[in-house]
Symmetry: C2
Subunit: 83 residues, 2 copies
């Protein structure tokens, strides 16, 4: 059993309205020392399998077929052993 | 300058429809060895300051006042030094 953490962010140059608005709201609340805010999504998957490399390849496929939009997203996969 | 990574997830017992639907969709695509999917949001903040503890306390306040909903969310704060 493996745990795969897929962190999905926006590519450079793609605007992040959620981050922009979070930054604005924090500054309006008085947190004026916040200089930037960026948002990410993480999907934690629990995957049955015994071969870490095979699991990694599968998660790559999941990212390409469902989890991310290659036009705007960049992603990072972290595989952890789980019991 | 510090970078604060705030990871926001749902408390135990709170349903995660995005995770449930991701799991369903992955299984429909043939990834039947995926046993669970859970979703998280991460907000990366760049914060001006020199005292790590003070920054941590400020980020705690940001979480309580804006970033999270204490009824349904749990969160974790990681402070990293940034140049």
């Amino acid at each position: 059993m493996f745990e795969a953490q897929v962190t999905i962010g926006l590519k450079k140059g793609v605007s992040d309205p959620e981050g922009v608005n979070t930054l604005k709201a924090l500054q309006l609340l008085g947190f004026t020392n916040v200089k930037n805010a960026a948002t990410f999504r993480t999907i934690d998957l629990l995957i049955d399998g015994s071969d870490e490399n095979k699991v990694l390849r599968e998660v790559e496929q999941m990212c390409q077929r469902l989890l991310t939009n290659p036009v705007i997203h960049q992603y990072e996969i972290k595989i952890l052993e789980s019991k």
